[in-house]
Symmetry: C2
């Protein structure tokens, strides 16, 4: 029976598979949250559920599933709680990241702290705006903390179907490697933003991206490979191969995202062009441009970076510098190299179906435009 389901699942076209996985993950999430949050207040429930119920592309659950397939998983239905665990973990980081970045929108809708601030303001119309914002932020801190916990819960549930040693190796990997690493990436992101552009090196920016974006993708791949092979996460050679591929893909994605943030299309991007500039983020583009810029160009870059009142002509000026210095071409080359590396790693997967689907996943990640 299980093998029939597995065969059916993995004979789908990639877009059909994504649609199926998104739908079932979404259904599972809904049921799980209902069961778990009976006791929660409406504000807290809204805060913990908002992003999870907005759907999304399920990039991390998909990667976990495909990595398990590559490692020989025959009962993909048992992976459900692990797939949900990585999604909850990712969501927890988004909720806290949105507070840290003061972002108001996520996937075109209000961020958690914004949402809760509005709820309380409409409940107590005489409430101070700053008190409402505080309450929104505090609730979002609590909600993020809770979502981190869901991930540990959900991994724990795997012990119904997988050896305890494998499950334990995943929990240890999460708490010893992923968690402190990803959060260090978050911290580095903030610290780079405080620094002067001339003090930031491409190496520092890449390290930050690898930790903040790459690590969780690598972890999803490792968990999938460990579960699929029923081996502890540190004893599974495929886990390491796929982890490297996923990390490289994550960094490539992030570089492309930064390029799009400056050269992309506002409607597609879902946020104004030049947001990174306004916030003063030293992206790889900016750091590489600085290194090759003339003194006059450097004055422009300094003037524009972190200026909240940026004009369209400022953005155009930065674009020109980024192109003139070769920073744009250099970033594109770097992203390309990383994608090629990731592809090469995926090519070593022996199962034909798994290999094909992993390459589709990679393609979706690095070709997506927002």
């Amino acid at each position: 029976m299980a093998s029939t389901f597995s065969e059916r699942l993995f004979s789908m076209d990639y877009p059909d598979l994504v649609a199926f996985v998104s739908k079932t993950t979404h259904q599972f999430i809904k049921g799980y949250l209902q069961l778990l949050e009976e006791d929660f207040t409406p504000d807290l429930r809204e805060a913990t559920d908002a992003y999870l119920l907005r759907g999304g592309k399920c990039l991390r659950p998909m990667l976990l599933l495909l990595s398990a397939l590559a490692a020989g998983e025959r009962s993909p239905q048992h992976l459900a709680s692990a797939m949900l665990a990585v999604e909850c973990y990712h969501t927890a980081t988004l909720v806290h990241d949105d507070i840290i970045d003061h972002d108001e929108l996520r996937r075109g809708k209000p961020t958690v702290h914004t949402l809760v601030a509005r709820r309380i303001a409409s409940r107590y119309p005489r409430l101070d705006a700053s008190k409402a914002a505080d309450y929104g932020m505090a609730t979002a801190i609590v909600a993020g903390d809770i979502l981190f916990g869901y991930s540990a819960q959900l991994f724990g549930l795997l012990s119904a179907h997988y050896p305890l040693g494998v499950v334990n190796s995943i929990l240890l990997e999460q708490s010893c490697e992923l968690h402190p690493g990803l959060l260090l990436g978050e911290q580095l992101d903030m610290e780079l933003e405080m620094m002067d552009l001339q003090d930031v090196t491409p190496k520092m920016v890449e390290k930050m991206m690898r930790l903040k974006t790459g690590l969780l993708l690598g972890f999803a791949a490792r968990v999938g490979a460990a579960l699929g092979s029923r081996k502890p996460i540190d004893k599974c050679p495929l886990a390491e191969t796929l982890e490297n591929a996923a990390e490289d893909a994550g960094v490539a994605f992030q570089i492309q995202d930064d390029i799009l943030g400056l050269f992309g299309d506002e409607a597609q991007l879902g946020k104004p062009i030049g947001s990174d500039l306004r916030e003063g983020k030293p992206t790889l583009l900016m750091v590489k441009a600085w290194a090759k810029a003339t003194p006059a160009e450097r004055r422009t870059l300094k003037k524009v970076l972190g200026n909240p009142k940026l004009t369209e002509s400022d953005v155009a000026a930065v674009r020109a510098i980024v192109e003139r210095t070769g920073a744009l071409a250099s970033c594109r080359r770097r992203a390309n190299t990383l994608v090629k590396q990731a592809e090469k790693a995926c090519q070593t997967v022996s199962d034909v179906t798994a290999r094909k689907l992993l390459l589709c996943w990679l393609d979706t990640l690095v070709k997506r435009s927002h």
Copy 2:
């Protein structure tokens, strides 16, 4: 050898035992953090380490140790990572709680977010004060997240000395029961503060205190009992008895803390008398006073609660109402009942030494004046 150490440890007087445990826990923490945070930036390291290195009474590690003794533990040295795990978990909640409450002091020194804000301000003297505060808050969010993860790591390490089934039951208990429960308590605390005093009931306040303060004490006791008996946490009858005692003790402690906050001594308390009033916290005292207050007294309570510019005579007026309505006496009675219940539960422990030490622990908790 192990039994000799155990005998030596448990033949100490209670104050000597506390001193020994605080010292060794502190040493272990220091070594662990050094090992773990090699890669961290100085700001992040400061943020994660600050509270842990300030020492403290180790109430939760002590309770875990004594509960394990009560359950027959003969190798207390193996408990070290569990004791540190509950301390890290507690510290994580403090770091986030201090952001939420905008507190500037913790154990007489700056809170994490305040500390980091000052560090960045002194590094970049031209930085906006609000940007420095933001950076302090963001770093404290990240540091709290990391500390939650340390706790899972440290529990994971127990598998070197305890059966995997026991360790797994602890991790599941933490992520399924403790974590969402304690954070719901944090949320309820915020939500009660937003409500009008007349809408808050004693039951709501007690539920909040049980979740926010009682649950973690109960968890420390359960973990100790489970480890000491080498039984999964849900299969250990002593775990339940000690959990109830610890939860009751936690609520009693919180009630007394609220009483001290209004009637105590400012120097002993470490914060100004009437802080709860200023912040608008509907404590059990206030809720009970409201229920029995005259219309004129209610007007006074309403005027004073949440008024940041509270005078000494306002505080005196509230004290008089709290006494006149019998709220003070009623809260003292309630705390007393809870302590008696906890004592009764501890009396059922068969090991004489463990029983005696648990009663000392209880005494320290409910008699401490700040």
